[in-house]
Protein backbone atom coordinates (compact mmCIF):
# COMPACT_ATOMS: atom_id res chain seq x y z
CA UNK A 1 0.00 0.00 0.00
CA UNK A 2 1.39 3.40 -1.04
CA UNK A 3 0.43 5.26 2.14
CA UNK A 4 2.45 8.33 1.16
CA UNK A 5 0.42 8.67 -2.03
CA UNK A 6 -2.91 8.38 -0.19
CA UNK A 7 -1.70 11.01 2.26
CA UNK A 8 -0.46 13.28 -0.54
CA UNK A 9 -3.81 13.19 -2.40
CA UNK A 10 -5.76 13.59 0.84
CA UNK A 11 -3.66 16.56 2.00
CA UNK A 12 -3.84 18.15 -1.45
CA UNK A 13 -7.63 17.91 -1.50
CA UNK A 14 -8.03 19.13 2.07
CA UNK A 15 -5.74 22.06 1.29
CA UNK A 16 -8.19 23.04 -1.45
CA UNK A 17 -10.97 23.07 1.17
CA UNK A 18 -9.08 25.37 3.52
CA UNK A 19 -8.16 27.60 0.57
CA UNK A 20 -11.81 27.94 -0.38
CA UNK A 21 -13.27 27.99 3.11
CA UNK A 22 -16.11 30.37 2.23
CA UNK A 23 -17.27 28.29 -0.72
CA UNK A 24 -16.59 24.85 0.75
CA UNK A 25 -17.85 25.22 4.30
CA UNK A 26 -19.30 28.63 5.12
CA UNK A 27 -21.65 28.89 2.15
CA UNK A 28 -23.52 25.57 2.65
CA UNK A 29 -23.67 26.15 6.43
CA UNK A 30 -25.17 29.61 5.96
CA UNK A 31 -27.67 28.57 3.29
CA UNK A 32 -28.85 25.58 5.36
CA UNK A 33 -29.13 27.81 8.43
CA UNK A 34 -31.62 29.94 6.52
CA UNK A 35 -33.96 26.93 6.40
CA UNK A 36 -33.67 26.62 10.19
CA UNK A 37 -34.42 30.33 10.60
CA UNK A 38 -37.46 30.19 8.31
CA UNK A 39 -38.91 26.75 9.09
CA UNK A 40 -37.58 26.42 12.62
CA UNK A 41 -37.74 29.80 14.32
CA UNK A 42 -40.08 31.84 12.08
CA UNK A 43 -42.94 29.62 10.87
CA UNK A 44 -42.02 26.32 12.50
CA UNK A 45 -44.06 27.11 15.60
CA UNK A 46 -47.15 27.66 13.40
CA UNK A 47 -46.87 24.21 11.84
CA UNK A 48 -48.10 20.91 13.22
CA UNK A 49 -45.67 18.53 14.87
CA UNK A 50 -44.96 15.25 13.09
CA UNK A 51 -44.74 11.98 15.04
CA UNK A 52 -44.62 14.12 18.17
CA UNK A 53 -41.58 16.09 16.94
CA UNK A 54 -41.73 19.84 16.41
CA UNK A 55 -41.55 20.75 12.74
CA UNK A 56 -38.32 22.71 13.15
CA UNK A 57 -36.64 19.70 14.74
CA UNK A 58 -38.22 17.24 12.29
CA UNK A 59 -36.57 18.82 9.24
CA UNK A 60 -33.03 18.93 10.70
CA UNK A 61 -31.96 15.40 9.61
CA UNK A 62 -33.37 15.96 6.12
CA UNK A 63 -31.63 19.30 5.69
CA UNK A 64 -28.31 17.92 6.92
CA UNK A 65 -28.74 15.06 4.48
CA UNK A 66 -29.50 17.51 1.66
CA UNK A 67 -26.21 19.33 2.25
CA UNK A 68 -24.31 16.11 2.86
CA UNK A 69 -25.42 14.54 -0.43
CA UNK A 70 -24.86 17.57 -2.65
CA UNK A 71 -21.53 18.51 -1.03
CA UNK A 72 -20.19 14.94 -1.07
CA UNK A 73 -20.93 14.67 -4.77
CA UNK A 74 -19.62 18.14 -5.49
CA UNK A 75 -16.37 17.71 -3.49
CA UNK A 76 -15.44 14.35 -4.95
CA UNK A 77 -16.46 15.14 -8.53
CA UNK A 78 -14.56 18.42 -8.53
CA UNK A 79 -11.53 16.75 -6.96
CA UNK A 80 -11.02 14.24 -9.77
CA UNK A 81 -12.39 16.46 -12.55
CA UNK A 82 -9.89 19.30 -12.02
CA UNK A 83 -6.74 17.22 -12.76
CA UNK A 84 -8.52 15.99 -15.88
CA UNK A 85 -9.38 19.55 -16.85
CA UNK A 86 -5.89 20.96 -16.25
CA UNK A 87 -4.11 17.89 -17.61
CA UNK A 88 -2.25 17.23 -14.36
CA UNK A 89 -3.99 13.82 -14.21
CA UNK A 90 -0.86 12.55 -16.01
CA UNK A 91 0.87 12.56 -12.64
CA UNK A 92 -1.73 10.31 -11.01
CA UNK A 93 -1.74 7.96 -14.00
CA UNK A 94 2.05 7.66 -14.09
CA UNK A 95 2.50 7.29 -10.32
CA UNK A 96 2.95 3.96 -8.52
CA UNK A 97 -0.56 4.10 -7.07
CA UNK A 98 -3.34 1.54 -7.29
CA UNK A 99 -6.96 2.50 -8.02
CA UNK A 100 -7.84 1.76 -4.39
CA UNK A 101 -5.23 4.26 -3.20
CA UNK A 102 -6.47 6.93 -5.62
CA UNK A 103 -10.06 6.42 -4.45
CA UNK A 104 -9.03 6.42 -0.78
CA UNK A 105 -7.26 9.76 -1.26
CA UNK A 106 -9.96 11.57 -3.23
CA UNK A 107 -13.05 10.01 -1.66
CA UNK A 108 -11.52 10.11 1.82
CA UNK A 109 -10.93 13.85 1.55
CA UNK A 110 -14.35 14.55 0.03
CA UNK A 111 -16.10 12.50 2.74
CA UNK A 112 -14.08 14.21 5.50
CA UNK A 113 -15.17 17.63 4.24
CA UNK A 114 -18.80 16.51 4.11
CA UNK A 115 -18.73 15.07 7.62
CA UNK A 116 -17.18 18.29 8.98
CA UNK A 117 -19.87 20.21 7.12
CA UNK A 118 -22.65 17.98 8.48
CA UNK A 119 -21.43 18.42 12.05
CA UNK A 120 -21.16 22.18 11.60
CA UNK A 121 -24.72 22.34 10.28
CA UNK A 122 -25.86 20.23 13.21
CA UNK A 123 -24.16 22.62 15.64
CA UNK A 124 -25.61 25.65 13.84
CA UNK A 125 -29.11 24.14 13.95
CA UNK A 126 -28.85 24.08 17.74
CA UNK A 127 -28.75 27.87 17.70
CA UNK A 128 -32.25 28.07 16.17
CA UNK A 129 -34.07 24.85 17.06
CA UNK A 130 -34.30 22.56 20.10
CA UNK A 131 -33.64 18.93 19.21
CA UNK A 132 -32.14 15.77 20.62
CA UNK A 133 -29.98 13.00 19.22
CA UNK A 134 -31.23 9.70 20.62
CA UNK A 135 -28.54 7.50 19.08
CA UNK A 136 -25.42 9.69 18.57
CA UNK A 137 -23.21 6.79 17.48
CA UNK A 138 -25.71 5.71 14.85
CA UNK A 139 -26.15 9.33 13.81
CA UNK A 140 -22.40 9.67 13.24
CA UNK A 141 -22.25 6.30 11.48
CA UNK A 142 -25.04 7.33 9.10
CA UNK A 143 -23.24 10.62 8.49
CA UNK A 144 -19.97 8.88 7.59
CA UNK A 145 -21.62 6.11 5.58
CA UNK A 146 -23.66 8.54 3.50
CA UNK A 147 -20.71 10.90 3.00
CA UNK A 148 -18.50 8.05 1.77
CA UNK A 149 -21.19 6.56 -0.48
CA UNK A 150 -22.06 9.84 -2.16
CA UNK A 151 -18.41 10.82 -2.45
CA UNK A 152 -17.93 7.59 -4.38
CA UNK A 153 -20.89 8.61 -6.55
CA UNK A 154 -19.30 12.06 -6.98
CA UNK A 155 -16.02 10.45 -8.03
CA UNK A 156 -17.88 8.63 -10.80
CA UNK A 157 -19.51 11.86 -11.96
CA UNK A 158 -16.13 13.62 -11.95
CA UNK A 159 -14.65 10.93 -14.19
CA UNK A 160 -17.70 10.92 -16.46
CA UNK A 161 -17.96 14.71 -16.79
CA UNK A 162 -16.25 16.33 -19.75
CA UNK A 163 -17.38 19.85 -18.87
CA UNK A 164 -18.36 21.94 -15.86
CA UNK A 165 -22.04 21.72 -16.79
CA UNK A 166 -22.05 17.96 -16.37
CA UNK A 167 -20.47 18.36 -12.92
CA UNK A 168 -23.48 20.40 -11.81
CA UNK A 169 -26.23 18.59 -13.63
CA UNK A 170 -26.58 15.49 -11.39
CA UNK A 171 -26.51 17.30 -8.02
CA UNK A 172 -28.84 20.05 -9.28
CA UNK A 173 -31.23 18.12 -11.49
CA UNK A 174 -31.34 14.74 -9.75
CA UNK A 175 -30.06 14.73 -6.16
CA UNK A 176 -31.71 17.95 -4.93
CA UNK A 177 -35.21 17.05 -6.26
CA UNK A 178 -34.88 13.51 -4.88
CA UNK A 179 -33.92 14.91 -1.47
CA UNK A 180 -36.81 17.38 -1.43
CA UNK A 181 -39.21 14.59 -2.44
CA UNK A 182 -37.55 12.05 -0.15
CA UNK A 183 -39.08 13.23 3.09
CA UNK A 184 -36.80 16.10 4.07
CA UNK A 185 -39.76 18.32 4.93
CA UNK A 186 -42.45 15.73 5.63
CA UNK A 187 -43.01 12.17 6.66
CA UNK A 188 -43.88 9.97 3.71
CA UNK A 189 -46.71 8.57 5.85
CA UNK A 190 -48.43 11.92 5.23
CA UNK A 191 -48.70 11.10 1.50
CA UNK A 192 -51.60 9.25 -0.16
CA UNK A 193 -50.91 5.47 -0.36
CA UNK A 194 -50.08 5.53 -4.08
CA UNK A 195 -47.47 8.25 -3.63
CA UNK A 196 -46.07 6.44 -0.61
CA UNK A 197 -45.39 3.44 -2.84
CA UNK A 198 -43.86 5.59 -5.59
CA UNK A 199 -41.71 7.43 -3.06
CA UNK A 200 -40.17 4.15 -1.89
CA UNK A 201 -38.38 4.01 -5.27
CA UNK A 202 -36.50 7.14 -4.24
CA UNK A 203 -33.23 5.96 -2.64
CA UNK A 204 -32.87 9.18 -0.64
CA UNK A 205 -35.97 8.24 1.39
CA UNK A 206 -33.96 5.47 3.06
CA UNK A 207 -31.06 7.77 3.89
CA UNK A 208 -33.24 10.46 5.45
CA UNK A 209 -35.42 7.96 7.26
CA UNK A 210 -32.47 6.16 8.82
CA UNK A 211 -30.76 9.39 9.75
CA UNK A 212 -33.96 10.76 11.33
CA UNK A 213 -34.33 7.53 13.30
CA UNK A 214 -30.90 8.13 14.85
CA UNK A 215 -32.18 11.52 16.08
CA UNK A 216 -35.72 10.77 17.28
CA UNK A 217 -36.21 7.02 17.11
CA UNK A 218 -38.94 7.35 14.47
CA UNK A 219 -38.57 6.34 10.83
CA UNK A 220 -40.61 5.99 7.64
CA UNK A 221 -38.92 2.66 6.85
CA UNK A 222 -37.12 0.21 9.11
CA UNK A 223 -33.60 1.36 10.02
CA UNK A 224 -32.15 -1.96 8.88
CA UNK A 225 -33.58 -1.38 5.41
CA UNK A 226 -32.04 2.11 5.39
CA UNK A 227 -28.59 0.76 6.23
CA UNK A 228 -28.99 -2.07 3.71
CA UNK A 229 -30.03 0.28 0.89
CA UNK A 230 -27.07 2.57 1.60
CA UNK A 231 -24.68 -0.37 1.39
CA UNK A 232 -26.31 -1.51 -1.86
CA UNK A 233 -25.75 1.94 -3.38
CA UNK A 234 -22.16 1.97 -2.09
CA UNK A 235 -21.54 -1.43 -3.65
CA UNK A 236 -22.97 -0.22 -6.94
CA UNK A 237 -20.66 2.81 -6.91
CA UNK A 238 -17.63 0.65 -6.06
CA UNK A 239 -18.46 -1.68 -8.94
CA UNK A 240 -18.66 1.22 -11.40
CA UNK A 241 -15.34 2.65 -10.11
CA UNK A 242 -13.70 -0.76 -10.45
CA UNK A 243 -14.92 -0.86 -14.07
CA UNK A 244 -13.63 2.70 -14.69
CA UNK A 245 -10.11 1.78 -13.62
CA UNK A 246 -10.23 -1.57 -15.39
CA UNK A 247 -11.16 -0.01 -18.71
CA UNK A 248 -9.49 3.37 -18.22
CA UNK A 249 -12.84 5.00 -19.09
CA UNK A 250 -12.29 8.74 -19.57
CA UNK A 251 -8.99 8.52 -17.68
CA UNK A 252 -6.70 6.89 -20.20
CA UNK A 253 -6.71 7.19 -23.97
Amino acid sequence: MNVYAIRAIYKFEMARTWRTLMQSIASPVISTSLYFVVFGSAIGSKMISIDGISYGAFIIPGLIMLSLLTESISNASFGIYMPKFTGSIYEILSAPVSPIEVVLGYVGAAATKSVILGLLILATARLFVDFEVLHPLWMFSFLVLTAVTFSLFGFIIGVWADGFEKLQIIPMMVVTPLTFLGGSFYSINMLPPVWQTITLFNPVVYLISGFRWSFYGVADVHVGVSVGMTFVFMLLCLTIIWWIFKTGYRLKD
Binding site: N2, Y4, T86, G87, S88, Y90, E91, A95
Partner: protein, 316 residues
Protein backbone atom coordinates in the same frame (compact mmCIF):
# COMPACT_ATOMS: atom_id res chain seq x y z
CA UNK B 1 25.25 -3.51 -20.93
CA UNK B 2 21.60 -4.31 -20.08
CA UNK B 3 19.27 -1.52 -21.16
CA UNK B 4 17.49 0.57 -18.53
CA UNK B 5 14.45 0.69 -20.79
CA UNK B 6 13.60 -2.03 -23.23
CA UNK B 7 10.66 -1.66 -25.62
CA UNK B 8 9.77 -4.70 -27.72
CA UNK B 9 7.24 -4.91 -30.55
CA UNK B 10 5.09 -2.17 -29.08
CA UNK B 11 1.84 -1.33 -30.82
CA UNK B 12 -0.73 1.25 -29.85
CA UNK B 13 -4.08 1.50 -31.61
CA UNK B 14 -6.45 4.17 -30.26
CA UNK B 15 -10.18 3.50 -29.98
CA UNK B 16 -10.65 5.66 -33.09
CA UNK B 17 -8.69 3.00 -35.00
CA UNK B 18 -5.64 5.23 -35.45
CA UNK B 19 -2.41 3.28 -34.98
CA UNK B 20 0.01 5.60 -33.25
CA UNK B 21 2.81 3.07 -32.69
CA UNK B 22 3.74 0.31 -35.10
CA UNK B 23 5.91 -2.53 -33.87
CA UNK B 24 8.26 -0.21 -32.00
CA UNK B 25 11.37 -1.79 -30.52
CA UNK B 26 14.08 0.28 -28.91
CA UNK B 27 16.56 -0.02 -26.04
CA UNK B 28 17.67 2.92 -23.93
CA UNK B 29 21.11 2.57 -22.41
CA UNK B 30 21.78 3.24 -18.77
CA UNK B 31 23.08 6.74 -18.11
CA UNK B 32 22.72 8.11 -21.63
CA UNK B 33 20.88 11.08 -23.07
CA UNK B 34 18.63 9.71 -25.76
CA UNK B 35 16.91 12.14 -28.10
CA UNK B 36 13.76 11.01 -29.83
CA UNK B 37 13.14 13.05 -32.95
CA UNK B 38 10.14 13.06 -35.19
CA UNK B 39 7.66 15.35 -36.88
CA UNK B 40 4.33 16.29 -35.29
CA UNK B 41 2.09 13.25 -34.86
CA UNK B 42 4.97 10.82 -35.33
CA UNK B 43 4.19 9.02 -32.05
CA UNK B 44 6.82 10.52 -29.74
CA UNK B 45 4.40 11.50 -26.97
CA UNK B 46 2.41 8.26 -27.33
CA UNK B 47 5.60 6.26 -26.88
CA UNK B 48 6.56 8.20 -23.76
CA UNK B 49 3.01 8.07 -22.38
CA UNK B 50 2.90 4.32 -22.87
CA UNK B 51 6.23 3.75 -21.12
CA UNK B 52 5.09 5.97 -18.23
CA UNK B 53 1.73 4.18 -17.85
CA UNK B 54 -0.48 7.06 -18.98
CA UNK B 55 -1.59 5.20 -22.08
CA UNK B 56 -2.21 1.47 -22.23
CA UNK B 57 -0.32 -0.44 -24.91
CA UNK B 58 -2.31 -2.53 -27.40
CA UNK B 59 0.46 -5.13 -27.58
CA UNK B 60 4.15 -5.48 -26.93
CA UNK B 61 6.37 -5.43 -23.90
CA UNK B 62 8.11 -2.66 -21.97
CA UNK B 63 10.64 -3.16 -19.20
CA UNK B 64 12.18 -0.52 -16.98
CA UNK B 65 15.37 -1.62 -15.24
CA UNK B 66 14.41 -5.22 -15.92
CA UNK B 67 10.86 -5.09 -14.57
CA UNK B 68 7.66 -5.19 -16.58
CA UNK B 69 5.96 -1.80 -16.46
CA UNK B 70 2.48 -3.31 -16.21
CA UNK B 71 2.98 -6.36 -14.03
CA UNK B 72 5.41 -4.61 -11.66
CA UNK B 73 4.06 -1.10 -12.16
CA UNK B 74 4.87 0.04 -8.64
CA UNK B 75 8.57 -0.78 -8.98
CA UNK B 76 8.79 0.49 -12.57
CA UNK B 77 7.00 3.79 -12.04
CA UNK B 78 9.09 4.70 -9.00
CA UNK B 79 12.10 4.69 -11.32
CA UNK B 80 10.58 7.11 -13.80
CA UNK B 81 10.01 10.85 -13.77
CA UNK B 82 8.10 12.63 -16.50
CA UNK B 83 8.08 16.25 -17.60
CA UNK B 84 5.11 16.58 -19.93
CA UNK B 85 4.95 18.71 -23.03
CA UNK B 86 2.08 20.90 -21.85
CA UNK B 87 2.35 23.18 -18.84
CA UNK B 88 -0.11 21.10 -16.86
CA UNK B 89 -0.04 22.25 -13.27
CA UNK B 90 -2.45 23.22 -10.56
CA UNK B 91 -2.79 26.98 -10.59
CA UNK B 92 -3.51 27.65 -6.92
CA UNK B 93 -0.96 25.42 -5.22
CA UNK B 94 2.39 26.77 -4.06
CA UNK B 95 5.61 25.55 -5.66
CA UNK B 96 6.62 23.96 -2.36
CA UNK B 97 3.28 22.15 -1.90
CA UNK B 98 3.06 20.81 -5.43
CA UNK B 99 6.63 19.48 -5.38
CA UNK B 100 6.06 17.73 -2.05
CA UNK B 101 2.77 16.36 -3.39
CA UNK B 102 4.63 14.72 -6.28
CA UNK B 103 7.17 13.15 -3.95
CA UNK B 104 4.42 11.65 -1.81
CA UNK B 105 2.49 10.44 -4.84
CA UNK B 106 5.50 8.42 -5.93
CA UNK B 107 5.69 6.72 -2.55
CA UNK B 108 8.58 8.60 -1.00
CA UNK B 109 8.69 9.79 2.61
CA UNK B 110 8.77 13.58 3.03
CA UNK B 111 12.29 14.99 2.71
CA UNK B 112 12.25 18.79 2.94
CA UNK B 113 16.05 18.98 2.57
CA UNK B 114 15.96 17.15 -0.76
CA UNK B 115 13.07 19.25 -2.09
CA UNK B 116 14.99 22.36 -1.05
CA UNK B 117 18.02 21.11 -2.99
CA UNK B 118 15.94 20.49 -6.11
CA UNK B 119 14.24 23.88 -5.94
CA UNK B 120 17.57 25.62 -5.43
CA UNK B 121 19.14 23.81 -8.37
CA UNK B 122 16.28 25.00 -10.55
CA UNK B 123 16.41 28.58 -9.24
CA UNK B 124 12.96 28.14 -7.74
CA UNK B 125 13.83 28.48 -4.08
CA UNK B 126 12.86 32.13 -3.80
CA UNK B 127 9.53 31.26 -5.49
CA UNK B 128 8.72 28.32 -3.23
CA UNK B 129 5.77 30.07 -1.57
CA UNK B 130 4.42 31.54 -4.79
CA UNK B 131 1.29 30.10 -6.29
CA UNK B 132 1.99 28.46 -9.63
CA UNK B 133 -0.41 30.78 -11.44
CA UNK B 134 1.88 33.69 -10.50
CA UNK B 135 4.87 32.20 -12.35
CA UNK B 136 6.05 32.80 -15.89
CA UNK B 137 5.93 30.03 -18.51
CA UNK B 138 9.62 29.29 -18.07
CA UNK B 139 9.25 29.07 -14.30
CA UNK B 140 6.27 26.75 -14.66
CA UNK B 141 8.42 24.51 -16.86
CA UNK B 142 11.00 24.42 -14.05
CA UNK B 143 8.28 23.50 -11.57
CA UNK B 144 7.33 20.55 -13.76
CA UNK B 145 10.96 19.45 -13.79
CA UNK B 146 11.15 19.83 -10.00
CA UNK B 147 8.01 17.70 -9.64
CA UNK B 148 9.46 15.04 -11.92
CA UNK B 149 12.71 14.96 -9.94
CA UNK B 150 11.07 15.08 -6.51
CA UNK B 151 11.06 11.29 -6.07
CA UNK B 152 14.69 10.84 -7.18
CA UNK B 153 13.99 8.94 -10.41
CA UNK B 154 16.66 6.95 -12.27
CA UNK B 155 15.00 7.68 -15.61
CA UNK B 156 13.73 11.07 -16.68
CA UNK B 157 11.48 11.70 -19.66
CA UNK B 158 11.47 15.23 -20.99
CA UNK B 159 8.76 15.75 -23.57
CA UNK B 160 9.68 18.91 -25.49
CA UNK B 161 11.40 20.39 -22.41
CA UNK B 162 12.37 23.68 -23.94
CA UNK B 163 9.28 24.37 -26.03
CA UNK B 164 8.37 28.01 -25.64
CA UNK B 165 11.25 28.98 -23.38
CA UNK B 166 13.77 31.68 -24.17
CA UNK B 167 17.32 31.00 -25.32
CA UNK B 168 18.90 31.73 -21.95
CA UNK B 169 16.60 29.37 -20.09
CA UNK B 170 17.08 26.75 -22.77
CA UNK B 171 20.84 26.87 -22.20
CA UNK B 172 20.28 26.59 -18.44
CA UNK B 173 18.07 23.56 -18.96
CA UNK B 174 20.65 21.90 -21.16
CA UNK B 175 23.17 22.35 -18.39
CA UNK B 176 20.75 20.91 -15.86
CA UNK B 177 20.11 17.88 -18.07
CA UNK B 178 23.83 17.26 -18.45
CA UNK B 179 24.28 17.52 -14.71
CA UNK B 180 21.51 15.00 -14.15
CA UNK B 181 23.17 12.66 -16.59
CA UNK B 182 26.45 13.11 -14.73
CA UNK B 183 24.58 12.15 -11.55
CA UNK B 184 23.56 8.89 -13.19
CA UNK B 185 20.06 9.73 -14.40
CA UNK B 186 19.12 8.37 -17.81
CA UNK B 187 17.46 11.07 -19.90
CA UNK B 188 15.06 10.54 -22.76
CA UNK B 189 13.99 13.72 -24.47
CA UNK B 190 11.79 14.50 -27.38
CA UNK B 191 12.36 17.70 -29.18
CA UNK B 192 11.57 19.66 -32.28
CA UNK B 193 14.80 21.56 -31.86
CA UNK B 194 17.40 19.59 -33.76
CA UNK B 195 19.96 21.92 -32.27
CA UNK B 196 18.96 20.61 -28.86
CA UNK B 197 19.51 16.98 -29.84
CA UNK B 198 22.76 17.86 -31.57
CA UNK B 199 23.96 19.71 -28.50
CA UNK B 200 23.02 17.16 -25.88
CA UNK B 201 22.20 13.67 -27.09
CA UNK B 202 24.48 10.66 -26.92
CA UNK B 203 22.17 8.67 -29.17
CA UNK B 204 19.34 9.62 -31.44
CA UNK B 205 16.19 7.78 -32.42
CA UNK B 206 14.03 8.94 -35.26
CA UNK B 207 10.34 8.08 -35.28
CA UNK B 208 8.05 8.70 -38.20
CA UNK B 209 4.41 7.69 -38.56
CA UNK B 210 4.60 5.43 -35.53
CA UNK B 211 7.72 3.54 -36.63
CA UNK B 212 11.25 3.85 -35.32
CA UNK B 213 13.19 4.35 -38.51
CA UNK B 214 16.63 4.76 -37.02
CA UNK B 215 18.53 4.56 -33.72
CA UNK B 216 22.15 5.55 -33.82
CA UNK B 217 24.98 7.17 -31.88
CA UNK B 218 24.83 10.85 -32.67
CA UNK B 219 28.44 11.01 -33.79
CA UNK B 220 28.07 7.90 -35.97
CA UNK B 221 24.88 9.25 -37.46
CA UNK B 222 26.54 12.47 -38.39
CA UNK B 223 29.54 10.62 -39.77
CA UNK B 224 27.51 8.12 -41.76
CA UNK B 225 24.84 10.33 -43.09
CA UNK B 226 26.47 13.70 -42.89
CA UNK B 227 27.52 15.20 -46.17
CA UNK B 228 29.92 18.02 -46.68
CA UNK B 229 29.43 20.86 -49.05
CA UNK B 230 32.02 23.06 -50.66
CA UNK B 231 30.67 26.49 -51.55
CA UNK B 232 32.54 28.65 -54.03
CA UNK B 233 31.67 32.33 -54.45
CA UNK B 234 32.64 33.19 -58.02
CA UNK B 235 34.17 36.44 -59.26
CA UNK B 236 31.93 36.49 -62.33
CA UNK B 237 28.46 34.99 -62.61
CA UNK B 238 28.14 31.72 -64.52
CA UNK B 239 25.18 30.97 -66.84
CA UNK B 240 25.39 27.24 -66.46
CA UNK B 241 27.70 24.54 -65.15
CA UNK B 242 30.41 23.84 -67.77
CA UNK B 243 30.14 20.45 -69.48
CA UNK B 244 33.66 19.60 -68.25
CA UNK B 245 32.20 19.55 -64.73
CA UNK B 246 28.95 17.78 -65.49
CA UNK B 247 30.11 14.56 -63.80
CA UNK B 248 30.22 16.22 -60.39
CA UNK B 249 27.35 16.93 -57.96
CA UNK B 250 27.47 20.64 -58.57
CA UNK B 251 24.69 23.17 -58.21
CA UNK B 252 24.61 26.74 -59.39
CA UNK B 253 22.74 28.91 -56.95
CA UNK B 254 21.29 32.38 -56.80
CA UNK B 255 22.51 34.80 -59.40
CA UNK B 256 25.02 32.31 -60.81
CA UNK B 257 27.80 33.47 -58.52
CA UNK B 258 27.59 30.58 -56.05
CA UNK B 259 28.69 27.10 -56.96
CA UNK B 260 27.96 24.32 -54.44
CA UNK B 261 29.60 20.92 -54.52
CA UNK B 262 28.22 18.15 -52.30
CA UNK B 263 30.59 15.32 -51.49
CA UNK B 264 30.92 12.28 -49.28
CA UNK B 265 33.46 12.80 -46.53
CA UNK B 266 34.25 9.11 -46.43
CA UNK B 267 34.94 8.63 -50.15
CA UNK B 268 38.56 7.88 -51.04
CA UNK B 269 38.50 10.72 -53.56
CA UNK B 270 36.37 13.71 -52.66
CA UNK B 271 36.92 15.25 -56.11
CA UNK B 272 37.66 18.68 -54.67
CA UNK B 273 41.16 18.90 -56.15
CA UNK B 274 39.89 17.84 -59.57
CA UNK B 275 37.11 20.43 -59.56
CA UNK B 276 39.40 23.25 -58.47
CA UNK B 277 41.95 22.27 -61.15
CA UNK B 278 39.27 22.20 -63.88
CA UNK B 279 37.86 25.54 -62.77
CA UNK B 280 41.34 26.97 -63.02
CA UNK B 281 41.74 25.52 -66.54
CA UNK B 282 38.40 27.04 -67.54
CA UNK B 283 39.51 30.41 -66.20
CA UNK B 284 36.80 30.54 -63.54
CA UNK B 285 38.02 32.62 -60.60
CA UNK B 286 36.46 32.55 -57.16
CA UNK B 287 36.75 35.11 -54.40
CA UNK B 288 35.87 32.88 -51.44
CA UNK B 289 35.28 29.27 -50.56
CA UNK B 290 33.99 27.44 -47.48
CA UNK B 291 33.07 23.90 -46.54
CA UNK B 292 30.15 22.95 -44.29
CA UNK B 293 28.85 19.69 -42.84
CA UNK B 294 25.16 18.67 -42.88
CA UNK B 295 23.39 19.53 -39.68
CA UNK B 296 21.36 16.98 -37.79
CA UNK B 297 18.27 18.78 -39.02
CA UNK B 298 19.16 18.11 -42.64
CA UNK B 299 19.88 14.48 -41.80
CA UNK B 300 16.57 14.20 -39.97
CA UNK B 301 14.58 15.75 -42.83
CA UNK B 302 16.33 13.43 -45.26
CA UNK B 303 15.53 10.36 -43.18
CA UNK B 304 11.86 11.22 -42.75
CA UNK B 305 11.51 12.01 -46.46
CA UNK B 306 13.25 8.80 -47.42
CA UNK B 307 10.99 6.77 -45.08
CA UNK B 308 7.93 8.38 -46.64
CA UNK B 309 9.19 7.62 -50.15
CA UNK B 310 9.89 4.00 -49.25
CA UNK B 311 6.37 3.66 -47.93
CA UNK B 312 4.92 5.16 -51.10
CA UNK B 313 6.92 2.70 -53.21
CA UNK B 314 5.65 -0.23 -51.13
CA UNK B 315 2.07 1.04 -51.50
CA UNK B 316 2.41 1.38 -55.29
Amino acid sequence: MDPIISVKNLNKVYSSGFQALKDVSVDIHRGEIFALLGPNGAGKTTLISTICGITSPTSGQIQADGVDIIRDYRVARKLIGLVPQELTTDAFESVWATTNFSRGLFGKAPDPAYIEKILKSLSLWDKKDNRIMELSGGMKRRVLIAKALSHEPKILFLDEPTAGVDVELRREMWELVRKLRDDGVTIILTTHYIEEAEEMADRIGVISKGRIILVEEKATLMDQLGKKQLTLHLQQPMRSIPTELSGYALELLGDGQTLVYTFDVHASETGIGEILRKLNELGVDFKDLKSTQSSLEEIFVGLVRSAAQQKEEVTV
